[in-house]
């Protein structure tokens, strides 16, 4: 039986790796945004586990900053995807790989 901290950090690592794999294999822009959310969530889980390991509130403070950052990132990212969809009529990220002025 491994300790609680190790188990939590392993879970965070597994979730982060899944998000990274999804980021690499997907070509839909909304799926890429969701996988960024998965990775941010895993990083927050690691901070919470560290906070409970040391009994200090800094980890939870960092998690609240991650939440605020994720909210701002999602709003700007969705607006960018909206512009991309209106320009290209698709959500394929390979279509947007070339700048055309």
């Amino acid at each position: 039986m491994i300790s609680a901290t190790t188990a939590g950090l392993v879970l965070a690592g597994i979730l982060f790796t899944l998000g990274l794999i999804s980021m690499l294999i997907r070509r839909n822009v909304i799926f890429m945004l969701v996988s960024v959310e998965i990775m941010l969530n895993a990083a927050g889980l690691a901070f919470i586990v560290a906070a409970s390991r040391w009994g200090q509130p800094e980890g939870q403070v960092m998690f609240m900053f991650i939440l605020a950052m994720a909210a701002a990132e999602v709003s700007v990212g969705l607006a960018l995807i909206l512009q991309l969809y209106h320009q290209l009529k698709t959500l394929d990220s390979d279509e947007a790989s070339r700048m055309r002025g």
């Binding site: 939590g8 294999i25 390991r53 509130p57 403070v61 939440l67 607006a79 209106h86």
Partner: protein
């Protein structure tokens, strides 16, 4: 800790795998909400109940609903009704529902169980978090506020539709 953590972790990993293997974005978002719920249970087990509540309210309640509204807004058209009907088949919602029922059973089990501190987990109460947040980290709080402000302004600026005015004599684009 123990079996409760492993059930929640298993649900989290399983639903995240389902997220990254779905082809329909709505199915993936349903599974991702289940993943967030199970991560909230893990937060609760690690002695951060306030962070679990924030995870539910902000992530599962606000950010996911924003993405779902966005997906629904993009798929306008005549085929929407047929897609809506195909989204509501039992094969779509039976998987997330089963995982949610597992989490609900685990929550009930944790509530009827007497609270105990297990192993090396230290509970950090929200009072200490608030004192730390508005004490040494007040500058970071203000920076987060400015980041959110920039997010609002950026989303408004980027999400604006450019209206194209086409006329025989004057053809120009105005915002």
């Amino acid at each position: 800790m123990g079996i409760a953590f492993y059930i929640a972790a298993g649900v989290a990993v399983l639903s995240t795998i389902m997220v990254i293997t779905r082809f329909n974005i709505m199915h993936a978002l349903l599974y991702f909400i289940v993943s967030l719920l199970s991560v909230a249970v893990v937060f609760y087990l690690f002695g951060a109940p306030f962070m679990a509540a924030l995870e539910l309210i902000i992530y599962a309640g606000a950010i996911m609903v924003l993405i779902i509204f966005f997906v629904m807004m993009l798929s306008l058209g005549s085929q929407t009704a047929g897609e809506e009907r195909s989204w509501m088949t039992p094969g779509v919602w039976i998987g997330p529902s089963v995982l949610c029922i597992v989490l609900l059973a685990e929550l009930v089990y944790l509530m009827i169980q007497p609270a105990e501190i297990v192993g090396e987990i230290k509970v950090v109460d929200p009072k200490a978090v608030g004192k730390s947040l508005f004490g040494p980290y007040i500058l970071a709080v203000e920076l987060a506020g400015m980041l959110l402000m920039a997010g609002i302004v950026g989303a408004y600026h980027l999400g604006r539709q450019k209206k194209k005015i086409v006329h025989r004599f004057l053809e120009n684009t105005s915002s």
